[in-house]
């Protein structure tokens, strides 16, 4: 019994990492969106599974949020934004896909090394999960820093946060998980609205130095 539960949990967590890699691989926005939806889907599945094996019903809420909000609502909204801003066929990676993948490998390895030093009596499930979660977090961050496009950076941030949720749900009996996932959804909503309202076109970094000079008197 236990073996099976473990394996399924591992399977889901590992596939989450895998999906993160697939995200890194994409350089077209639509594709990226779809992959992210998949990411959220896998997360929802693993959270649900955790809810099941820990028989902690409140985790189902989290799973639900992940499913509805992240896997459906956000992608649709972002899709519309992309259309609105007309940036759907941009190639906007800073470093090429290859190097990004390599970096990703390195990060996964790093997170394994860091996490597996944890002594085993912290129960193995948590340990493996944490390793995967850390990997997902790092990959999300990597995504944020290797993409120029606001939308894909949001996606990066969200997959980072998926990693957090994975860790949180993996942490058996952790209180406030639901609250935290809600809080994060709010945060993301803010970001998306921000992009939408402030017309942040291609990227966050429209930091036009000239404009800064003019306005802030920070001329060099």
């Amino acid at each position: 019994m236990h073996g099976l539960t473990f394996d399924i949990a591992h399977l889901l967590a590992g596939s989450l990492v895998l999906v993160s890699f697939m995200q890194l691989y994409q350089d077209r926005l639509y594709a990226l969106l779809n992959i992210f939806a998949l990411h959220a889907l896998v997360l929802a599945a693993s959270v649900a599974w955790q809810a099941f094996i820990q028989d902690a019903p409140h985790l189902y809420v989290t799973a639900g949020i992940a499913l509805i909000f992240k896997a459906i609502v956000i992608p649709i909204v972002l899709h519309r934004i992309i259309v609105r801003l007309g940036i759907h066929r941009e190639i906007e990676t800073v470093v090429g896909v290859g190097p990004a993948m390599l970096l990703g490998m390195g990060l996964v390895a790093l997170s394994m090394v860091v996490m597996l030093r944890v002594t085993a009596e912290a129960d193995p499930l948590a340990r493996e999960d944490l390793a995967f979660a850390l990997a997902v977090v790092l990959l999300g961050l990597l995504m944020m820093v290797t993409r120029r496009n606001a939308v894909s950076q949001v996606i990066g941030f969200m997959s980072l946060e998926n990693g957090l949720v994975l860790a949180a749900t993996g942490a058996k009996g952790m209180p406030l998980v639901v609250e935290i996932s809600v809080a994060f959804s709010v945060l993301i909503a803010f970001i998306v609205i921000g992009i939408f309202l402030f017309r942040i076109r291609e990227r966050f970094d429209t930091v036009d130095v000239q404009a800064l000079d003019r306005f802030r008197g920070e001329r060099r």
Binding site: L141, L142, R148, R220
Partner: protein
């Protein structure tokens, strides 16, 4: 008891500062503030003097519940402190008296009056302090108040720059001292001086502390190469403050040095003296050479302060050398020489700055090239200024000579020193001292001759007015003091005996008992000097000559045009100027020290334009010590400033990198 009285005085001065703010800017405010500080500092001086003479009573401290919580503010007067308190408050009282007249011409008194008493109080507190924290607070407070006084005339960009450099160097020195005290106090923080005395630092630490003390106190005293701020800041302040900064504050810095090195640091190592001696010798000569190249009167005086600090350090270095080799008597002689010079310099440097201030008031000029002939318009100022010049040039029968004579006597005792380094260094330092003395005389011939003698070079100089009675009173008093200290040095040497007793364990032989008030450093067979007799001799023979000639030969006198080998030129422009007077010496020393170059631009044949001779001087110390630092900071600031203009993604990259780095640290953690 002395301490308590002193504290009352300091408190009164501190209270005077906020009062001054509300008194505003009128002449009334000036009179009140300077009058009050005159009275208070005079009282403090007398108090300290009494303390110096019956000093067993004075070595008593008080501890106020101020400053560091679990330590409190320790305040204490021992002989050393008492002596320096005398110096400080004598200078303070005279400056206040002078300012009673001078201050009336101040254009922005409200920027001077509040800080002036606070400055005096701070200098007193530095000397009174008996724990590291109180000492440093007062020390930096002293810098702060004087900084405010330096930028009193802040509309002049130069003054602002001077103040800026000054504050930076002052804080640099303070931080160096802070580190020194950090070492002395040890990890569990025994900041009280008594506790520090009780523990003896290891040789390595002591060496570090010595270096830090030389740097920290030196940057305040203005030893080369840390002197750069001094000639900028001292002239920028109002003249009575310049007098205080040059005549008194540098002495407070010397006090800090003596307190740390002779008192707190424990038995000296043999090579310490070499550091101090080398610094002193170089400072003396460089200072006077810089001074010779100046034609701004106050800046010239400021550079001379650097020179005299060098002389003082030479005395202290010799004392250190003798002390390290257990030659207590010689050490006492050298230390007394150094401290006596401290007193002398504070007297005649204040006098000279007062004179410069009076000239500034009378003509609005600091540049000697625009002065001249003032002896006709301001005879009294000229007379006292002349006295100051003779005194600072170390010429008998005035006081400057006595202290340098004592230093020479100390040098003559040094062949007994065992260490070879000293055997080579001391004669060289002696030569440097002699050189600086001779150059100082040259420099003051220039200073007095160009600004007071000759014919007026500008209308301002031609229409100068004699300065007011208060200023004159202050200057006459100091001039008289120069003479008294010159002809009756025995009294002062005896007064310094307790200080020497405290610091090197013994003192010079008692002088006041000797016949004709002679001074005898070691033994009469070795050397002796009697300023009084020499003075009387000179006066007698001089007046005898006058009497004889006027009685027996002629006393007739006709006025006529100057002879000048038959080519008299009415234009005052044909006189020797300051720079032309310095030209031979510039040729001799300047070419190497300042890379001095003279560029003569002749007009093309037939052109009627004038030929120009321009002189280029480079301050190598600035170029090679200060400019690079400033350059580096500017460079680094520019490079780092890029980080202000990154894009959010790049900032995220920074965060990401930091995270990965830390995780790597963890991964590689044993």
């Amino acid at each position: 008891m002395t301490v308590v009285y002193a504290l009352y005085g300091v408190a009164a001065l501190l209270a005077l500062a906020p009062i001054a703010i509300f008194l505003g800017a009128g002449p009334r405010a000036t009179n009140i503030v300077y009058g009050a500080s005159l009275i208070i500092t005079a009282g403090l001086g007398v108090n300290a003097l009494l303390g110096l003479f019956d000093h067993p009573a004075t070595t008593s401290g008080v501890t106020l519940p101020l400053g560091l919580p679990w330590l409190g503010a320790h305040l204490r007067i021992d002989a050393l402190a008492a002596f320096f308190l005398v110096v400080v408050n004598l200078g303070g009282a005279m400056a206040s008296l002078f300012a009673l007249g001078y201050g009336r011409h101040e254009e922005s008194p409200q920027r001077v009056l509040p800080f002036y008493p606070a400055y005096l109080a701070a200098m007193n507190l530095v000397v009174l302090a008996a724990d590291a924290f109180t000492f440093l607070v007062s020390w930096e407070f002293m810098s702060l108040t004087s900084w405010a006084l330096v930028i009193a005339h802040h509309r002049d960009r130069e003054n602002l720059r001077a103040g800026y450099v000054y504050l930076l160097m002052a804080s640099f020195g303070t931080l160096a001292l802070l580190l020194a005290f950090g070492l002395l106090a040890g990890p569990d923080g025994n900041y009280a001086f008594d506790a520090i005395r009780a523990t003896h630092a290891s040789a390595g630490l002591a060496a570090l502390v010595l270096i830090l003390a030389v740097v920290g106190a030196g940057s305040k005293a203005g030893v080369v190469p840390l002197h750069a701020w001094l000639p900028l800041a001292h002239p920028a302040a109002p003249s009575h403050v310049s007098a205080l900064m040059s005549g008194v504050m540098t002495k407070v810095a010397v006090y800090g040095f003596v307190r740390i090195v002779f008192d707190l640091l424990g038995p000296p190592d043999w090579w310490w003296s070499m550091v101090v001696l080398a610094v002193g010798g170089i400072t003396a000569v460089m200072g006077v050479l810089y001074a010779l190249m100046q034609h701004d009167l106050k800046r010239l005086l400021a550079y001379h302060t650097v020179e005299n600090i060098g002389i003082i350090y030479i005395g202290l270095g010799l004392a250190l050398a003798f002390k390290a080799n257990g030659m207590a008597v010689a050490a006492a002689l050298a230390l007394t020489a150094g401290l006596f010079h401290v007193f002398n310099h504070s007297v005649f440097k204040s006098l000279l700055f007062f004179g410069a201030g009076s000239v500034l008031n009378a003509t609005g000029e600091r540049d000697m090239e625009h002065l001249g002939g003032l002896i006709h318009r301001m005879p009294q100022t000229a007379f006292v200024f002349l006295v100051g010049c003779v005194a600072i040039s170390a010429l008998p029968p005035l006081n400057g000579f006595v202290s340098e004579w004592l230093t020479f006597q100390a040098i003559l005792l040094s062949p007994q020193l065992p260490s070879w380094g000293l055997k080579f260094l001391v004669p060289a330092v002696g030569a440097l001292l002699a050189l600086s003395a001779a150059l100082a005389a040259a420099c003051f011939v220039k200073a007095f001759g160009v600004s007071f003698l000759g014919r007026p070079r500008t209308p301002a100089a031609a229409n100068a007015r004699e300065t007011d009675s208060n200023s004159l009173a202050a200057m006459y008093f100091l001039a008289a003091l120069c003479l008294v200290a010159g002809v009756l040095p025995g009294l002062f040497i005896d007064a310094l005996a307790p200080v020497a007793n405290v610091l090197v364990g013994t003192s010079m032989p008692h002088q006041s008992g000797l016949a004709w008030l002679t001074i005898v450093p070691i033994a009469e067979s070795r050397s002796s000097y009697n300023g009084l007799l020499v003075f009387i001799f000179v006066v007698l023979s001089g007046s005898a000559a006058v009497f004889a000639i006027h009685r027996l030969a002629s006393d007739r006198l006709r006025r006529a045009a100057a002879w000048d080998c038959g080519y008299p030129d009415p234009s005052p422009a044909t006189q020797y100027t300051a720079s032309s007077f310095a030209q031979p010496i510039r040729r001799v020393y300047g070419t190497s020290v300042f890379h001095a170059r003279e560029i003569g631009a002749m007009p093309p044949p037939g052109a009627t334009s004038a030929a120009r001779l321009t002189v280029e001087l480079r301050d190598l110390i600035w170029d090679f010590a200060y400019a690079p630092v400033a350059g580096f900071i500017g460079y680094a600031a520019d490079r780092l400033n890029v980080l202000q203009f990154l894009t959010i993604r790049r900032y995220l990259t920074l965060v990401f990198t930091a995270l990965v780095l830390l995780l790597l640290v963890l991964a590689t953690w044993p």
